[in-house]
Symmetry: C3
Subunit: 201 residues, 3 copies
Protein backbone atom coordinates (compact mmCIF):
# COMPACT_ATOMS: atom_id res chain seq x y z
CA UNK A 1 0.00 0.00 0.00
CA UNK A 2 2.82 2.42 0.77
CA UNK A 3 4.11 1.91 -2.75
CA UNK A 4 0.70 2.63 -4.17
CA UNK A 5 0.48 5.77 -2.09
CA UNK A 6 3.94 6.81 -3.18
CA UNK A 7 2.89 6.33 -6.78
CA UNK A 8 -0.09 8.51 -6.24
CA UNK A 9 1.98 11.25 -4.69
CA UNK A 10 4.66 11.04 -7.34
CA UNK A 11 2.06 11.79 -9.96
CA UNK A 12 1.38 14.91 -8.00
CA UNK A 13 5.02 15.71 -8.61
CA UNK A 14 6.52 15.77 -5.12
CA UNK A 15 8.73 12.71 -4.96
CA UNK A 16 8.19 9.15 -3.71
CA UNK A 17 7.62 9.68 -0.04
CA UNK A 18 4.05 8.96 1.08
CA UNK A 19 2.06 12.00 2.08
CA UNK A 20 1.11 11.48 5.71
CA UNK A 21 -2.36 11.85 7.12
CA UNK A 22 -1.20 14.79 9.19
CA UNK A 23 -0.48 16.84 6.08
CA UNK A 24 -3.88 15.99 4.61
CA UNK A 25 -5.63 16.98 7.81
CA UNK A 26 -3.69 20.22 7.96
CA UNK A 27 -4.67 21.10 4.42
CA UNK A 28 -8.31 20.37 5.23
CA UNK A 29 -8.17 22.38 8.45
CA UNK A 30 -6.68 25.35 6.59
CA UNK A 31 -9.50 25.16 4.06
CA UNK A 32 -12.09 24.91 6.84
CA UNK A 33 -10.75 28.10 8.38
CA UNK A 34 -10.97 29.93 5.07
CA UNK A 35 -14.50 28.69 4.42
CA UNK A 36 -15.52 29.77 7.91
CA UNK A 37 -14.11 33.26 7.28
CA UNK A 38 -16.14 33.46 4.09
CA UNK A 39 -19.27 32.25 5.86
CA UNK A 40 -18.85 34.93 8.50
CA UNK A 41 -18.10 37.78 6.09
CA UNK A 42 -20.65 40.64 5.85
CA UNK A 43 -21.37 39.64 2.25
CA UNK A 44 -23.23 36.57 3.53
CA UNK A 45 -25.88 38.85 5.02
CA UNK A 46 -26.97 39.74 1.51
CA UNK A 47 -30.24 38.32 0.25
CA UNK A 48 -32.07 38.73 -3.04
CA UNK A 49 -33.71 41.86 -1.70
CA UNK A 50 -34.35 45.51 -2.59
CA UNK A 51 -34.97 48.16 0.09
CA UNK A 52 -36.34 51.64 -0.52
CA UNK A 53 -36.86 54.69 1.68
CA UNK A 54 -39.75 56.71 0.25
CA UNK A 55 -39.05 60.12 1.77
CA UNK A 56 -40.73 62.14 -0.97
CA UNK A 57 -44.44 62.85 -1.21
CA UNK A 58 -44.30 63.60 -4.94
CA UNK A 59 -46.60 61.65 -7.27
CA UNK A 60 -43.89 61.05 -9.86
CA UNK A 61 -41.46 59.65 -7.28
CA UNK A 62 -44.23 57.52 -5.74
CA UNK A 63 -44.91 56.08 -9.21
CA UNK A 64 -41.20 55.46 -9.87
CA UNK A 65 -40.76 53.72 -6.50
CA UNK A 66 -43.78 51.47 -7.09
CA UNK A 67 -42.76 50.58 -10.65
CA UNK A 68 -39.34 49.55 -9.30
CA UNK A 69 -40.97 47.68 -6.37
CA UNK A 70 -43.49 45.73 -8.46
CA UNK A 71 -40.84 45.02 -11.11
CA UNK A 72 -38.45 43.65 -8.51
CA UNK A 73 -41.17 41.59 -6.78
CA UNK A 74 -42.25 40.17 -10.14
CA UNK A 75 -38.63 39.12 -10.74
CA UNK A 76 -38.74 37.18 -7.47
CA UNK A 77 -36.89 39.64 -5.25
CA UNK A 78 -37.95 40.44 -1.69
CA UNK A 79 -38.88 44.12 -1.57
CA UNK A 80 -39.20 46.49 1.41
CA UNK A 81 -40.57 50.03 1.27
CA UNK A 82 -40.06 52.36 4.22
CA UNK A 83 -42.38 55.39 4.11
CA UNK A 84 -41.04 58.36 6.04
CA UNK A 85 -41.54 62.15 6.26
CA UNK A 86 -43.56 63.39 3.24
CA UNK A 87 -43.77 59.81 1.97
CA UNK A 88 -46.51 59.27 4.56
CA UNK A 89 -48.86 61.11 2.18
CA UNK A 90 -48.55 58.17 -0.20
CA UNK A 91 -49.86 55.69 2.37
CA UNK A 92 -52.69 57.80 3.82
CA UNK A 93 -56.21 56.95 2.75
CA UNK A 94 -58.09 59.83 4.43
CA UNK A 95 -57.75 62.82 6.71
CA UNK A 96 -58.88 62.83 10.31
CA UNK A 97 -58.90 65.91 12.57
CA UNK A 98 -60.10 64.25 15.78
CA UNK A 99 -57.91 64.49 18.84
CA UNK A 100 -55.16 66.44 17.14
CA UNK A 101 -53.43 69.56 18.36
CA UNK A 102 -53.30 72.72 16.27
CA UNK A 103 -50.00 71.84 14.54
CA UNK A 104 -51.15 68.35 13.72
CA UNK A 105 -54.40 69.76 12.33
CA UNK A 106 -52.36 72.15 10.20
CA UNK A 107 -50.26 69.35 8.75
CA UNK A 108 -53.37 67.27 8.18
CA UNK A 109 -54.98 70.12 6.26
CA UNK A 110 -51.96 70.88 4.15
CA UNK A 111 -50.52 67.46 3.39
CA UNK A 112 -52.32 65.29 0.83
CA UNK A 113 -54.13 62.22 2.11
CA UNK A 114 -53.53 59.46 -0.37
CA UNK A 115 -52.18 59.38 -3.86
CA UNK A 116 -55.09 61.39 -5.26
CA UNK A 117 -53.68 64.59 -3.84
CA UNK A 118 -50.02 64.16 -4.69
CA UNK A 119 -48.25 66.64 -6.95
CA UNK A 120 -45.21 66.33 -9.19
CA UNK A 121 -41.62 67.11 -8.16
CA UNK A 122 -41.31 69.23 -11.31
CA UNK A 123 -43.84 70.86 -13.68
CA UNK A 124 -46.69 70.45 -11.22
CA UNK A 125 -48.48 73.74 -12.01
CA UNK A 126 -50.81 73.45 -9.02
CA UNK A 127 -51.87 69.92 -9.92
CA UNK A 128 -52.27 70.21 -13.71
CA UNK A 129 -49.00 68.37 -14.27
CA UNK A 130 -50.07 65.53 -12.00
CA UNK A 131 -53.39 65.23 -13.88
CA UNK A 132 -51.53 65.11 -17.20
CA UNK A 133 -49.21 62.35 -15.97
CA UNK A 134 -52.23 60.38 -14.77
CA UNK A 135 -53.95 60.84 -18.16
CA UNK A 136 -50.78 59.82 -20.02
CA UNK A 137 -50.40 56.68 -17.88
CA UNK A 138 -54.03 55.82 -18.58
CA UNK A 139 -53.69 56.48 -22.34
CA UNK A 140 -50.61 54.24 -22.48
CA UNK A 141 -52.27 51.55 -20.34
CA UNK A 142 -49.73 51.90 -17.54
CA UNK A 143 -51.20 50.92 -14.17
CA UNK A 144 -52.22 53.90 -12.01
CA UNK A 145 -50.38 54.65 -8.80
CA UNK A 146 -53.26 53.16 -6.78
CA UNK A 147 -53.18 49.98 -8.89
CA UNK A 148 -49.40 49.82 -8.57
CA UNK A 149 -49.68 50.09 -4.78
CA UNK A 150 -52.25 47.28 -4.65
CA UNK A 151 -50.14 45.17 -6.98
CA UNK A 152 -47.13 45.73 -4.74
CA UNK A 153 -49.10 44.63 -1.68
CA UNK A 154 -50.41 41.55 -3.53
CA UNK A 155 -46.87 40.68 -4.64
CA UNK A 156 -45.86 40.65 -0.97
CA UNK A 157 -43.89 43.88 -0.88
CA UNK A 158 -43.22 44.77 2.75
CA UNK A 159 -44.76 48.18 3.46
CA UNK A 160 -43.41 49.89 6.58
CA UNK A 161 -44.49 53.27 7.95
CA UNK A 162 -41.92 55.27 9.91
CA UNK A 163 -43.23 55.40 13.45
CA UNK A 164 -41.40 58.64 14.29
CA UNK A 165 -42.68 60.50 11.21
CA UNK A 166 -46.19 59.30 11.99
CA UNK A 167 -45.91 60.81 15.47
CA UNK A 168 -44.22 64.03 14.36
CA UNK A 169 -46.84 64.72 11.68
CA UNK A 170 -49.66 63.54 13.94
CA UNK A 171 -50.94 60.87 11.57
CA UNK A 172 -53.39 58.46 13.21
CA UNK A 173 -53.67 54.77 12.44
CA UNK A 174 -57.15 55.13 10.95
CA UNK A 175 -55.77 57.54 8.37
CA UNK A 176 -53.36 54.91 6.99
CA UNK A 177 -53.95 52.35 4.26
CA UNK A 178 -54.59 48.84 5.63
CA UNK A 179 -51.87 46.22 5.71
CA UNK A 180 -48.96 48.45 6.71
CA UNK A 181 -46.37 47.72 9.38
CA UNK A 182 -45.04 50.34 11.78
CA UNK A 183 -41.27 50.46 12.19
CA UNK A 184 -38.22 52.55 12.94
CA UNK A 185 -34.91 53.26 11.31
CA UNK A 186 -33.65 49.89 12.58
CA UNK A 187 -36.35 48.19 10.52
CA UNK A 188 -35.11 49.91 7.39
CA UNK A 189 -31.45 49.28 8.21
CA UNK A 190 -32.14 45.61 8.84
CA UNK A 191 -33.62 45.26 5.37
CA UNK A 192 -31.13 47.60 3.66
CA UNK A 193 -28.21 45.74 5.27
CA UNK A 194 -29.33 42.50 3.66
CA UNK A 195 -30.40 44.04 0.36
CA UNK A 196 -28.58 43.93 -2.96
CA UNK A 197 -29.58 47.53 -3.47
CA UNK A 198 -31.05 50.29 -1.32
CA UNK A 199 -32.58 53.46 -2.75
CA UNK A 200 -33.52 56.77 -1.12
CA UNK A 201 -36.40 58.26 -3.08
CA UNK B 1 -9.10 0.12 13.27
CA UNK B 2 -11.63 2.29 15.00
CA UNK B 3 -9.17 2.71 17.83
CA UNK B 4 -6.46 3.71 15.40
CA UNK B 5 -8.74 6.27 13.86
CA UNK B 6 -9.54 7.69 17.26
CA UNK B 7 -5.82 7.91 18.00
CA UNK B 8 -5.08 9.56 14.72
CA UNK B 9 -7.78 12.16 15.23
CA UNK B 10 -6.82 12.80 18.80
CA UNK B 11 -3.27 13.65 17.83
CA UNK B 12 -4.41 15.45 14.70
CA UNK B 13 -2.75 12.89 12.48
CA UNK B 14 0.78 13.19 13.72
CA UNK B 15 0.92 9.70 15.16
CA UNK B 16 1.70 6.77 12.97
CA UNK B 17 -1.76 5.30 12.73
CA UNK B 18 -3.42 6.07 9.41
CA UNK B 19 -6.66 8.04 9.55
CA UNK B 20 -9.22 6.11 7.60
CA UNK B 21 -10.11 7.33 4.14
CA UNK B 22 -13.77 7.47 4.99
CA UNK B 23 -13.19 10.17 7.59
CA UNK B 24 -11.06 12.20 5.22
CA UNK B 25 -13.66 11.96 2.47
CA UNK B 26 -16.41 12.96 4.87
CA UNK B 27 -14.47 16.03 5.92
CA UNK B 28 -13.90 16.97 2.29
CA UNK B 29 -17.56 16.37 1.36
CA UNK B 30 -18.70 18.58 4.24
CA UNK B 31 -16.39 21.33 3.00
CA UNK B 32 -17.64 20.90 -0.55
CA UNK B 33 -21.22 21.42 0.61
CA UNK B 34 -20.26 24.59 2.47
CA UNK B 35 -18.35 25.95 -0.53
CA UNK B 36 -21.31 25.19 -2.79
CA UNK B 37 -23.64 27.08 -0.45
CA UNK B 38 -21.29 30.06 -0.58
CA UNK B 39 -21.08 29.87 -4.38
CA UNK B 40 -24.86 29.91 -4.65
CA UNK B 41 -25.43 32.75 -2.17
CA UNK B 42 -26.89 36.03 -3.49
CA UNK B 43 -23.61 37.78 -2.61
CA UNK B 44 -21.95 36.01 -5.53
CA UNK B 45 -24.15 37.98 -7.96
CA UNK B 46 -22.21 41.09 -6.97
CA UNK B 47 -19.78 42.53 -9.48
CA UNK B 48 -17.53 45.57 -9.35
CA UNK B 49 -20.41 47.70 -10.61
CA UNK B 50 -22.29 50.91 -9.82
CA UNK B 51 -25.89 51.46 -10.97
CA UNK B 52 -27.72 54.77 -10.97
CA UNK B 53 -31.28 55.81 -11.72
CA UNK B 54 -31.27 59.40 -12.97
CA UNK B 55 -34.87 60.43 -12.29
CA UNK B 56 -34.15 64.14 -11.91
CA UNK B 57 -33.84 66.61 -14.75
CA UNK B 58 -31.88 69.12 -12.66
CA UNK B 59 -28.50 70.30 -13.96
CA UNK B 60 -26.80 69.98 -10.58
CA UNK B 61 -27.96 66.40 -10.10
CA UNK B 62 -26.99 65.53 -13.69
CA UNK B 63 -23.51 66.89 -12.97
CA UNK B 64 -23.26 64.97 -9.67
CA UNK B 65 -24.39 61.71 -11.34
CA UNK B 66 -21.84 62.11 -14.16
CA UNK B 67 -18.97 62.99 -11.81
CA UNK B 68 -19.75 59.84 -9.84
CA UNK B 69 -20.11 57.80 -13.06
CA UNK B 70 -16.87 58.96 -14.65
CA UNK B 71 -15.03 58.64 -11.34
CA UNK B 72 -16.22 55.06 -10.91
CA UNK B 73 -15.45 54.13 -14.52
CA UNK B 74 -11.96 55.64 -14.18
CA UNK B 75 -11.46 53.44 -11.10
CA UNK B 76 -12.27 50.41 -13.23
CA UNK B 77 -15.85 49.84 -12.13
CA UNK B 78 -18.63 48.91 -14.53
CA UNK B 79 -21.19 51.73 -14.46
CA UNK B 80 -24.83 51.78 -15.58
CA UNK B 81 -27.03 54.86 -15.79
CA UNK B 82 -30.79 54.50 -16.20
CA UNK B 83 -32.47 57.73 -17.37
CA UNK B 84 -36.13 57.89 -16.44
CA UNK B 85 -38.91 60.52 -16.04
CA UNK B 86 -37.39 64.04 -15.99
CA UNK B 87 -33.94 62.51 -16.44
CA UNK B 88 -34.82 62.11 -20.12
CA UNK B 89 -34.11 65.83 -20.53
CA UNK B 90 -30.45 65.07 -19.84
CA UNK B 91 -30.19 62.67 -22.79
CA UNK B 92 -32.17 64.69 -25.35
CA UNK B 93 -30.21 66.53 -28.01
CA UNK B 94 -33.07 68.44 -29.71
CA UNK B 95 -36.82 68.94 -29.79
CA UNK B 96 -39.06 67.53 -32.49
CA UNK B 97 -42.77 68.28 -32.85
CA UNK B 98 -43.57 66.02 -35.81
CA UNK B 99 -46.23 63.37 -35.37
CA UNK B 100 -46.93 64.19 -31.74
CA UNK B 101 -50.30 64.71 -30.11
CA UNK B 102 -51.14 67.87 -28.21
CA UNK B 103 -49.95 66.57 -24.82
CA UNK B 104 -46.68 65.31 -26.26
CA UNK B 105 -46.17 68.68 -27.98
CA UNK B 106 -46.79 70.40 -24.65
CA UNK B 107 -44.19 68.28 -22.86
CA UNK B 108 -41.76 68.81 -25.71
CA UNK B 109 -42.21 72.58 -25.46
CA UNK B 110 -41.87 72.70 -21.70
CA UNK B 111 -39.16 70.17 -20.97
CA UNK B 112 -35.56 71.06 -21.79
CA UNK B 113 -33.90 69.27 -24.69
CA UNK B 114 -30.37 68.53 -23.65
CA UNK B 115 -28.21 69.72 -20.87
CA UNK B 116 -28.15 73.32 -22.17
CA UNK B 117 -31.67 73.92 -20.88
CA UNK B 118 -31.41 72.23 -17.48
CA UNK B 119 -31.98 74.23 -14.30
CA UNK B 120 -30.78 73.72 -10.74
CA UNK B 121 -32.67 71.84 -8.02
CA UNK B 122 -32.09 74.83 -5.70
CA UNK B 123 -31.21 78.50 -6.32
CA UNK B 124 -32.10 78.30 -10.01
CA UNK B 125 -33.58 81.82 -10.34
CA UNK B 126 -34.98 81.13 -13.81
CA UNK B 127 -31.68 79.86 -15.14
CA UNK B 128 -29.25 82.36 -13.61
CA UNK B 129 -28.12 79.79 -11.02
CA UNK B 130 -27.44 77.21 -13.71
CA UNK B 131 -25.37 79.76 -15.67
CA UNK B 132 -23.37 80.58 -12.54
CA UNK B 133 -22.63 76.90 -11.84
CA UNK B 134 -21.49 76.49 -15.45
CA UNK B 135 -19.24 79.55 -15.15
CA UNK B 136 -17.81 78.31 -11.84
CA UNK B 137 -17.08 74.87 -13.30
CA UNK B 138 -15.35 76.55 -16.24
CA UNK B 139 -13.34 78.90 -13.99
CA UNK B 140 -12.19 75.94 -11.90
CA UNK B 141 -11.41 73.84 -14.98
CA UNK B 142 -14.00 71.22 -14.09
CA UNK B 143 -15.33 69.44 -17.18
CA UNK B 144 -18.74 70.73 -18.35
CA UNK B 145 -21.79 68.48 -18.14
CA UNK B 146 -21.58 67.83 -21.90
CA UNK B 147 -17.90 66.89 -21.60
CA UNK B 148 -18.67 64.69 -18.59
CA UNK B 149 -21.39 62.89 -20.58
CA UNK B 150 -19.01 62.27 -23.50
CA UNK B 151 -16.28 61.12 -21.12
CA UNK B 152 -18.73 58.71 -19.52
CA UNK B 153 -19.67 57.29 -22.92
CA UNK B 154 -16.00 56.97 -23.89
CA UNK B 155 -15.24 55.22 -20.60
CA UNK B 156 -17.88 52.65 -21.51
CA UNK B 157 -20.60 53.71 -19.07
CA UNK B 158 -23.82 51.94 -20.04
CA UNK B 159 -26.45 54.57 -20.83
CA UNK B 160 -30.03 53.25 -20.78
CA UNK B 161 -33.19 55.24 -21.51
CA UNK B 162 -36.39 54.16 -19.80
CA UNK B 163 -38.65 52.93 -22.58
CA UNK B 164 -41.85 53.65 -20.63
CA UNK B 165 -40.87 57.24 -19.78
CA UNK B 166 -39.95 57.80 -23.42
CA UNK B 167 -43.42 56.70 -24.48
CA UNK B 168 -45.27 58.59 -21.72
CA UNK B 169 -43.48 61.86 -22.50
CA UNK B 170 -43.68 61.26 -26.26
CA UNK B 171 -39.93 61.47 -26.85
CA UNK B 172 -38.89 60.22 -30.30
CA UNK B 173 -35.67 58.38 -31.07
CA UNK B 174 -34.30 61.22 -33.21
CA UNK B 175 -34.52 63.53 -30.19
CA UNK B 176 -32.14 61.36 -28.15
CA UNK B 177 -28.35 61.50 -27.96
CA UNK B 178 -26.66 58.77 -30.02
CA UNK B 179 -25.33 55.63 -28.41
CA UNK B 180 -28.10 55.05 -25.87
CA UNK B 181 -29.84 51.78 -25.13
CA UNK B 182 -33.57 51.46 -24.53
CA UNK B 183 -34.61 49.40 -21.52
CA UNK B 184 -37.15 48.82 -18.80
CA UNK B 185 -37.13 48.50 -15.04
CA UNK B 186 -35.80 44.93 -15.42
CA UNK B 187 -32.71 46.35 -17.13
CA UNK B 188 -32.04 48.60 -14.17
CA UNK B 189 -32.79 45.89 -11.63
CA UNK B 190 -30.48 43.46 -13.42
CA UNK B 191 -27.62 45.92 -13.08
CA UNK B 192 -28.58 47.14 -9.59
CA UNK B 193 -28.85 43.55 -8.35
CA UNK B 194 -25.25 42.90 -9.32
CA UNK B 195 -23.93 46.29 -8.25
CA UNK B 196 -21.91 47.15 -5.17
CA UNK B 197 -23.97 50.31 -4.88
CA UNK B 198 -27.14 51.65 -6.47
CA UNK B 199 -28.18 55.31 -6.30
CA UNK B 200 -31.48 57.04 -7.06
CA UNK B 201 -30.72 60.58 -8.19
CA UNK C 1 -4.50 -0.11 -8.32
CA UNK C 2 -7.00 1.48 -10.63
CA UNK C 3 -9.55 -1.02 -9.44
CA UNK C 4 -8.86 -0.21 -5.82
CA UNK C 5 -9.20 3.52 -6.46
CA UNK C 6 -12.40 3.03 -8.36
CA UNK C 7 -13.77 0.91 -5.54
CA UNK C 8 -12.79 3.40 -2.92
CA UNK C 9 -14.34 6.31 -4.73
CA UNK C 10 -17.45 4.46 -5.75
CA UNK C 11 -18.23 3.52 -2.19
CA UNK C 12 -17.04 6.88 -0.89
CA UNK C 13 -14.69 5.40 1.63
CA UNK C 14 -16.96 2.86 3.19
CA UNK C 15 -15.27 -0.17 1.63
CA UNK C 16 -11.97 -1.47 2.90
CA UNK C 17 -9.82 -0.45 -0.03
CA UNK C 18 -7.73 2.67 0.67
CA UNK C 19 -8.39 5.71 -1.52
CA UNK C 20 -5.09 6.84 -2.97
CA UNK C 21 -3.50 10.05 -1.78
CA UNK C 22 -3.52 11.51 -5.27
CA UNK C 23 -7.31 11.52 -5.38
CA UNK C 24 -7.53 13.10 -1.96
CA UNK C 25 -5.05 15.80 -2.94
CA UNK C 26 -6.92 16.48 -6.16
CA UNK C 27 -10.19 16.91 -4.28
CA UNK C 28 -8.52 19.28 -1.85
CA UNK C 29 -6.85 21.26 -4.65
CA UNK C 30 -10.19 21.63 -6.43
CA UNK C 31 -11.73 22.95 -3.22
CA UNK C 32 -8.83 25.32 -2.70
CA UNK C 33 -9.39 26.81 -6.16
CA UNK C 34 -13.09 27.31 -5.46
CA UNK C 35 -12.39 28.92 -2.08
CA UNK C 36 -9.81 31.20 -3.68
CA UNK C 37 -12.36 32.29 -6.32
CA UNK C 38 -14.81 33.11 -3.53
CA UNK C 39 -12.17 35.02 -1.59
CA UNK C 40 -11.36 37.11 -4.67
CA UNK C 41 -14.99 37.83 -5.62
CA UNK C 42 -16.22 41.46 -5.41
CA UNK C 43 -18.62 40.43 -2.63
CA UNK C 44 -15.64 40.07 -0.27
CA UNK C 45 -15.06 43.84 -0.49
CA UNK C 46 -18.29 44.32 1.43
CA UNK C 47 -18.05 45.43 5.04
CA UNK C 48 -20.70 46.21 7.63
CA UNK C 49 -20.87 49.76 6.31
CA UNK C 50 -23.37 52.37 5.13
CA UNK C 51 -22.35 55.20 2.79
CA UNK C 52 -24.39 58.31 2.06
CA UNK C 53 -24.00 61.21 -0.34
CA UNK C 54 -25.71 64.24 1.17
CA UNK C 55 -26.30 66.37 -1.94
CA UNK C 56 -29.33 68.21 -0.61
CA UNK C 57 -29.23 71.27 1.61
CA UNK C 58 -32.78 70.74 2.88
CA UNK C 59 -33.34 70.52 6.64
CA UNK C 60 -35.72 67.56 6.38
CA UNK C 61 -33.27 65.55 4.28
CA UNK C 62 -30.39 66.51 6.61
CA UNK C 63 -32.47 65.20 9.52
CA UNK C 64 -33.36 61.99 7.68
CA UNK C 65 -29.72 61.36 6.75
CA UNK C 66 -28.54 61.89 10.33
CA UNK C 67 -31.27 59.70 11.84
CA UNK C 68 -30.20 56.94 9.46
CA UNK C 69 -26.50 57.59 10.20
CA UNK C 70 -26.82 57.60 13.99
CA UNK C 71 -29.16 54.58 13.87
CA UNK C 72 -26.69 52.61 11.78
CA UNK C 73 -23.71 53.64 13.94
CA UNK C 74 -25.63 52.66 17.08
CA UNK C 75 -26.24 49.24 15.51
CA UNK C 76 -22.49 48.86 15.10
CA UNK C 77 -22.18 49.69 11.41
CA UNK C 78 -19.40 51.84 9.99
CA UNK C 79 -21.00 54.94 8.49
CA UNK C 80 -19.64 57.45 5.97
CA UNK C 81 -21.32 60.71 4.95
CA UNK C 82 -20.11 62.60 1.91
CA UNK C 83 -21.34 66.22 1.83
CA UNK C 84 -21.44 67.67 -1.66
CA UNK C 85 -23.10 70.57 -3.53
CA UNK C 86 -25.93 72.07 -1.43
CA UNK C 87 -25.13 69.58 1.32
CA UNK C 88 -22.20 71.81 2.25
CA UNK C 89 -24.72 74.11 3.95
CA UNK C 90 -25.27 71.37 6.53
CA UNK C 91 -21.62 71.32 7.56
CA UNK C 92 -20.99 75.06 7.59
CA UNK C 93 -20.81 76.77 10.97
CA UNK C 94 -20.52 80.41 9.84
CA UNK C 95 -20.17 82.67 6.83
CA UNK C 96 -16.92 84.39 5.89
CA UNK C 97 -16.58 86.97 3.10
CA UNK C 98 -12.82 87.53 3.30
CA UNK C 99 -10.75 86.85 0.22
CA UNK C 100 -13.67 85.76 -1.93
CA UNK C 101 -14.55 86.90 -5.42
CA UNK C 102 -17.96 88.35 -6.27
CA UNK C 103 -19.55 84.99 -7.19
CA UNK C 104 -18.25 83.31 -4.06
CA UNK C 105 -19.55 86.23 -1.98
CA UNK C 106 -22.93 85.82 -3.68
CA UNK C 107 -23.10 82.13 -2.85
CA UNK C 108 -21.97 82.84 0.68
CA UNK C 109 -24.74 85.38 1.10
CA UNK C 110 -27.46 83.21 -0.36
CA UNK C 111 -26.62 79.75 0.96
CA UNK C 112 -27.33 78.98 4.60
CA UNK C 113 -24.40 78.57 6.95
CA UNK C 114 -25.19 75.74 9.27
CA UNK C 115 -28.32 73.85 10.04
CA UNK C 116 -30.02 76.90 11.58
CA UNK C 117 -30.68 78.36 8.15
CA UNK C 118 -31.83 75.25 6.33
CA UNK C 119 -35.31 75.06 4.81
CA UNK C 120 -37.57 72.13 3.98
CA UNK C 121 -37.74 70.34 0.63
CA UNK C 122 -41.53 70.71 0.76
CA UNK C 123 -43.91 73.00 2.69
CA UNK C 124 -41.11 75.38 3.66
CA UNK C 125 -43.16 78.63 3.43
CA UNK C 126 -40.07 80.84 3.72
CA UNK C 127 -38.84 79.07 6.84
CA UNK C 128 -42.09 78.61 8.79
CA UNK C 129 -42.20 74.92 7.84
CA UNK C 130 -38.65 74.40 9.07
CA UNK C 131 -39.52 76.10 12.39
CA UNK C 132 -42.57 73.87 12.77
CA UNK C 133 -40.54 70.71 12.16
CA UNK C 134 -38.01 71.87 14.73
CA UNK C 135 -40.78 72.56 17.25
CA UNK C 136 -42.38 69.18 16.57
CA UNK C 137 -39.08 67.39 17.05
CA UNK C 138 -38.59 69.23 20.32
CA UNK C 139 -42.16 68.50 21.50
CA UNK C 140 -41.66 64.81 20.75
CA UNK C 141 -38.21 64.77 22.36
CA UNK C 142 -36.49 63.86 19.12
CA UNK C 143 -32.88 65.09 19.04
CA UNK C 144 -32.41 68.30 17.04
CA UNK C 145 -30.40 68.26 13.83
CA UNK C 146 -27.44 69.84 15.65
CA UNK C 147 -27.63 67.19 18.38
CA UNK C 148 -27.94 64.46 15.76
CA UNK C 149 -24.83 65.78 13.99
CA UNK C 150 -22.83 65.80 17.21
CA UNK C 151 -24.11 62.33 18.11
CA UNK C 152 -23.03 61.10 14.68
CA UNK C 153 -19.54 62.53 15.18
CA UNK C 154 -19.30 61.01 18.66
CA UNK C 155 -20.41 57.64 17.29
CA UNK C 156 -17.50 57.79 14.87
CA UNK C 157 -19.41 58.52 11.68
CA UNK C 158 -16.93 59.52 9.00
CA UNK C 159 -17.79 63.02 7.77
CA UNK C 160 -16.26 63.94 4.42
CA UNK C 161 -16.64 67.26 2.61
CA UNK C 162 -16.45 67.21 -1.18
CA UNK C 163 -13.30 69.10 -2.07
CA UNK C 164 -14.58 70.13 -5.51
CA UNK C 165 -17.88 71.50 -4.21
CA UNK C 166 -15.99 73.42 -1.55
CA UNK C 167 -13.87 75.07 -4.24
CA UNK C 168 -16.76 75.70 -6.65
CA UNK C 169 -18.89 77.36 -3.99
CA UNK C 170 -15.90 79.16 -2.51
CA UNK C 171 -16.30 77.73 1.00
CA UNK C 172 -13.26 78.31 3.19
CA UNK C 173 -11.97 75.90 5.84
CA UNK C 174 -12.79 78.28 8.70
CA UNK C 175 -16.46 78.20 7.65
CA UNK C 176 -16.70 74.44 8.16
CA UNK C 177 -17.59 72.50 11.29
CA UNK C 178 -14.55 71.01 13.04
CA UNK C 179 -13.63 67.36 12.63
CA UNK C 180 -14.44 66.99 8.93
CA UNK C 181 -12.29 65.31 6.30
CA UNK C 182 -11.82 66.66 2.80
CA UNK C 183 -12.20 64.15 -0.03
CA UNK C 184 -13.18 63.55 -3.62
CA UNK C 185 -15.51 61.24 -5.48
CA UNK C 186 -12.94 58.45 -5.05
CA UNK C 187 -13.32 58.76 -1.28
CA UNK C 188 -17.07 58.23 -1.58
CA UNK C 189 -16.71 55.41 -4.10
CA UNK C 190 -14.18 53.65 -1.88
CA UNK C 191 -16.66 53.62 0.98
CA UNK C 192 -19.73 52.95 -1.21
CA UNK C 193 -17.96 50.06 -2.91
CA UNK C 194 -17.45 48.34 0.43
CA UNK C 195 -20.85 49.30 1.87
CA UNK C 196 -23.89 47.12 2.31
CA UNK C 197 -25.99 50.06 1.22
CA UNK C 198 -25.31 53.44 -0.37
CA UNK C 199 -27.86 56.25 -0.43
CA UNK C 200 -28.00 59.50 -2.43
CA UNK C 201 -29.90 62.05 -0.39
Amino acid sequence: MSVQTADAVSVNGNGHAPLDTKSLLEKIAALEARVEALEESPAQDIEDRLAMVVFSGDLDKAIASLIIATGAAAMGMEVSMFYTFWGLSVVKKKKSYDQKNILEKGFTAMLPAGTGGLGLSQMNFFGAGAKIIRKLMNDHEVASVEELFEMAQELGVRMVVCEMSRELLGVHDDELIDGLELGGVATFLGDAGSAKAALFI
